[in-house]
Amino acid sequence: MEAATTSDRTLFVHGNQACVEGALYAGVSFYAGYPITPSSEIAEEMSSRLPASGGKFIQMEDEISSMCAIIGASLTGRKAMTATSGPGFSLMQEALGYAIMAEIPCVIVNVMRGGPSTGLPTQGSQGDVNQARWGTHGDHAIIALTASSHQALFETTVRAFNLAETCRSPVIVLYDELLAHMRERLILPEPGDLPLVERLRTFVPGGVDYHPYLARSDGRLPMSDFGGVHRYNVTGLFHDMWGFPSTDPTVVHELMHHLHDKIVQRTNELASYCQYALEDADTVLISYGTPARSAMQVARKGRENGHRVGVLELETLWPFPAQLVRDACANARVVIVVEMNMGQVRDQVRAAVREPSRVFLANRVDGEFIRSKDISTVIRLVDGHGV
């Protein structure tokens, strides 16, 4: 047992508050959103906290405008975010594509509920993994992160803001309703404990030609705040290094590759994960979000009983860490993906591993939390032991 702590940095909060605490720690100063279960507590908490800390909160008329408003705010130099759930996330896809094209740092939180459509508003799901990847039209790359505990969600949210700045890209944080509404311990890190990435602003002085879309040698693109000394254009059209529309095939080709490569070529570096007892595991459980908690329980119990079970918990879903998954599964007899959908990550795992026929799915799509038994039953079936 740990020593009793009465520090005011120890909280007993729901996941949505852990997300808000992470965002505030990261320096969010603009929130626009529209109420939707199960994410509304994020907006409520932001409406209370931001005005008190010099930030701006606005409740917009829908999720479309919420996404647009955070892009506008980010251009003026603020760290900006919105939060929603599946139906609202669908409405945000248009402006999400804009943020990708115009390279606007921002964070979108999607607290996943059951879908499609209105679905299961008050119950958990992980059905939006593919929506996060391919919800907006056109070729693009995207970063999507997730977490399975409040401490991890806090850190993931901070990381989302950091990556948004580093990559000049929208970053999506996905987690399920169960994490959003359950309460558990969150210990707030002290300022400075976690690294923060601030907006990279150009050193080019006023009056000198500034190129908002010209990458430095390290791949980062210094920005200039709207209202500052550099006047440039921002558009959702393919554009040149000044931000002006272009249909020149060379310009279009280069921009498409830049948008893709700046994320996809850093897949391994972006891959965040936790692992448990993978070294000699013949049964590898791959999971993320709250189902990973049950996977951990199964693996610990399995180990106690002499079974070689290990867990790979993914905290980066996109770009999908295929290399990491391939390596983790190299010696596995059986790979079981544990998730609350019809196999969205299972499909990625099958594409990543050398022997896709060894990949199975342990899932629930009824709004209920995945129990240990749901996983152990699949293990028994795959091993030929029956239920």
């Binding site: 740990e2 009793a4 007993f12 008050t122 359950m182 309460r183 558990e184 049950s294």
Partner: protein, 182 residues
């Protein structure tokens, strides 16, 4: 590990009761707790339920399928949830709102929780705090002092909920659950 389900009807403060216990355990005692709740579309009314798991180490699975302790402050939640108790577990109900069913395999305790809050404390909305008090006495789920700290932090020092909690401590017959589970 101790697994508790608190239940009743929406508006009785069931969830708040669960949160207070969780705060006492996590913030004031440095142990682990996970609390979940079921939501319906109703804002008021309907069965309210919160699950609490308390342990000395990290808790993975957050829901309670088989409770050591079940509290039911309403007949509907008693009927619906009594199968969620472990055989021989502890079931605490409100004397005036729940009629006990002898077939339930549990040690059942019927306490005057609501009546105490209404008639004696003149504060019907504090029945949930009386219930937390009774639960602390019966199960030792948390130290009374850490629950008082949690109540004071949430509602303010000197808040009537503190008196309701203290009165609740006296409502129970004494410790009925022994420490091996906590």
């Amino acid at each position: 590990m101790l697994k508790i389900i608190l239940s009743g009807v929406g508006g009785q403060g069931i969830i708040t009761a669960g949160v207070i216990i969780g705060e006492a355990v996590v913030i004031h005692e440095g142990r682990y707790a996970v609390q979940t709740q079921s939501y319906g579309a109703e804002v008021r009314g309907g069965v309210a339920r919160t699950d609490l798991t308390i342990d000395h180490s990290e808790i993975y699975y957050p829901r309670v399928d088989q409770a050591h302790v079940l509290v039911a402050l309403h007949q509907d939640s008693y009927v619906r949830l009594n199968r969620r108790i472990r055989p021989g577990g502890i079931l605490v109900v409100d004397e005036s709102l729940v009629t006990l069913d002898a077939r339930v395999d549990a040690r059942q305790f019927s306490l005057p929780i609501v009546r105490t809050a209404e008639d004696e404390l003149k504060r019907p909305q504090a029945a949930n705090m009386c219930m937390v008090g009774a639960l602390v006495t019966m199960t030792g789920v948390a130290e009374p002092e850490s629950v008082r700290s949690a109540i004071a932090a949430r509602f303010g020092p000197g808040h009537p909920n503190l008196a309701a909690f203290d009165r609740g401590l006296q409502l129970a017959p004494g410790r009925v659950l022994h420490s091996s589970t906590v």
